[in-house]
Subunit: 509 residues, 2 copies
Amino acid sequence: MNDVKKTARTQARLPRGFGDRGPAEIAATERMLATIKESYQLYGFEAVETPFVEYTEALGKFLPDLDRPNEGVFSFQDDDEQWLSLRYDLTAPLARYVAENYDKLPKPYRSYRAGFVFRNEKPGPGRFRQFMQFDADTVGTSSVAADAELCMMAADTLERLGVKRGDYVIKVNNRKVLDGILEAIGLGGAENAGRRLTVLRAMDKYDKFGADGVRLLLGAGRKDESGDFTKGAGLQPAAIEVVLKILTEPTSEITSAMVEDRIGGVLIRNSAFADLSASQIFNEGIAELVKIQFLTRNSGYTDEQIRIDLSVVRGLEYYTGPVFEAELAFEIAEEDGRPVRFGSVGGGGRYDGLVGRFRGEDVPATGFSIGVSRLYAALKAIHSPVVAGAQQRGPVVVLVLDQAEVVRYQGFVSLLRNEGIAAELYLGSSGMNAQLKYADKRKAVCAVIQGSNEREKGEIAIRDLVLGAELAAGSKERADYLELRTKAQFTVPEADLLKAVKEVLLRHA
Amino acid sequence: MNDVKKTARTQARLPRGFGDRGPAEIAATERMLATIKESYQLYGFEAVETPFVEYTEALGKFLPDLDRPNEGVFSFQDDDEQWLSLRYDLTAPLARYVAENYDKLPKPYRSYRAGFVFRNEKPGPGRFRQFMQFDADTVGTSSVAADAELCMMAADTLERLGVKRGDYVIKVNNRKVLDGILEAIGLGGAENAGRRLTVLRAMDKYDKFGADGVRLLLGAGRKDESGDFTKGAGLQPAAIEVVLKILTEPTSEITSAMVEDRIGGVLIRNSAFADLSASQIFNEGIAELVKIQFLTRNSGYTDEQIRIDLSVVRGLEYYTGPVFEAELAFEIAEEDGRPVRFGSVGGGGRYDGLVGRFRGEDVPATGFSIGVSRLYAALKAIHSPVVAGAQQRGPVVVLVLDQAEVVRYQGFVSLLRNEGIAAELYLGSSGMNAQLKYADKRKAVCAVIQGSNEREKGEIAIRDLVLGAELAAGSKERADYLELRTKAQFTVPEADLLKAVKEVLLRHA
């Protein structure tokens, strides 16, 4: 009495940029998330979760690519006409949560959360509109020891996930250093905030577009393959070269003196710009970087694991101090076979103003976010045991050869389940061969078979489907073959069902 | 250089019907979900997940309360003007998934998934706009053995979660039986589909509004406390009493003969309606119920665990056969102290038309859905160990009494972490007393303290915060007090830090 079948036929498809996940990926991701959680808990971070929907104004607009329709966010109006949005990251909602619960939270407040976020963007290869992030944040301390801690935690976590030392690096920079440089090329002051952001975002595209692409974005603008034009920052050629120098020759060993020599040097040599040594914000940023390096080195982390790199920018608007990028240094083969560095699997930084939006005073905060799908792909590429795991086996399948005996078959299933063995009754209407094929498709280790012959003799046949597949492949010698065939299907008294099934499961454990 | 602080102050608040979750609830829910998963895997169900967003037309419109604005669903338009919606349950997306991947899935296809769903409805106490469901579905078999299996699995799962036998019951009914009765009171045929649904939804409100409320909804209509009027089904008084009879005197022991006697009897005695014994759909429904009862009884489930109850309706439109409701029979105290039955924590049923919407032919399917938040509240009420767990302890807190020694303190933290002990460095800027209060707030078992005195002697002080709290409560005898005070804070050589911390952790394990 439902009218479903009367409606027009609907197409079974997903909107672009959204995907389904099967059992192997779900199980592997769960193991991965559990490993990250363990690592974060060891650092004293505690779980907290916010909902998927927030007031649009509470999330703010800090996404890169604001020029796209809907500004990157999925939004809809509530009954009372207020705008709601799906969260686009886990940081903005955390800022709302901390502001709302400020007085009852311990401060500094360390927390972590994993969850899906949504971007209303043009999807592409490896670019989804729903994807998972795993964030850790420390709110309520301006100490760069908190930033250093996040970098060390990120390094520990990657190693715990099976990424070898040397195969990853946590790169650290400081927005204050970048701001100091931008100030020096004439982009200081509130009136240039928009242009500074355009420059930072152009720099952040270096991995994607290379020096030539960034040069266009820093200058007049860049047209992509589809013909879409992105307006550039409009910098003069000399200023562009200063910015590019930072990207192409990032400082890896940093001290105040070195920075003055390397970066300041470039600027001083180029007469269009002032000397940076007098820039308060630049020096503040350098001092913070030096302290982070001091803390991590003295905690035993090497330059191979955590290092200063002035080319790190991060695309989000709200960063105010140290920024980090977790990069995987190993290479994987592209679709065309060309080897490429795997690249970023996470990042973050200090965002002292974000909680303050709600409180009228700055609240210092810093965070690190893992791109779960990217990291999952990386761990698969290096065959990490965390995501590889054992081959998933299906349940034992009890065949139904006689519908009148279904209660008896159900009894076999219950007997196995009560011993903690996953088991199922075949519920379709096909014959024995189709049922065995079904059991194979379910990756069952064995099938339990009782036709009228067996039943009359009080027996049950056990079919070892793994050996059965080996036999079918036919790669064995004659002597082996006979022995295998005997083991691949055998008959036992009904009372020995459990023992026989356990034996077969053990063979392939 | 961010402009965050310059924007107007934003209010830190959540839209109504959405909530945050803290560490205790997250951990308890995770244990609960893991337990359900274990149970479902034992039955041979495998994990699958779909995204939160689907094409609106793929989800269909099967929600109750379609008369509300936006029809209960959060929707928004894509770049190409097609409508997208947040999923309102996990069944409609599964139907899309199965239809899209039909040929490569084993059939019957047993799967499970947990996830948040969204309802654009008026929120109220215990009624959220984002909540979690945990579903299991069997697609591709019309055998009621699949329905019976879901009922048995639901019973097993509740017991595994700590709900005692007698405290729950899985009630089973059949939409075909209800349809047969509605046919008999003049609501047969396609032209009455809308009114049938109105009657079913009125019946489904019996727990909420009682007999008097349902009587109004079956007749002219009902006005709620806020003055909102819901139009009724417009049944004649005699028809209303037949329907109410089903709700107020549900059949618990069912056989074909009994049903004819109880329900048929009511109808026959009431001369306005025809005898049901000739109704094909009614008899089909009864036969299915009898078979489900036969299968569950013979698998050892009693009437106390799984039983036929003709008052079960379920509000969703798409059910076509057996429907189930998992009810908790124990009582809890209402806000006003009045004891009430806990009620439903899950339900489901057969929806043979839902996958067929995409394929042009019916695909038999049946499913069971747990309301995770409801069940969580229930398990808390009965103090189930699954959600109670041990009191969550925070990390060991290493105090920072001298900023110049932060590297030394960080070393203590690393030493503990390397032994798998959760530990953190105090990252704020407060003095010793505030740091100890912070450690208490973090539920730390102990604090590690090294001032200049201790450092010069090469010692470390360990403060047992649990014993400290007992001392502060002052409930101990004098003799005990002195001993406790000695244990609550003591000094050890720096080399014994690990041993001493382990000792304190063991005291309170």
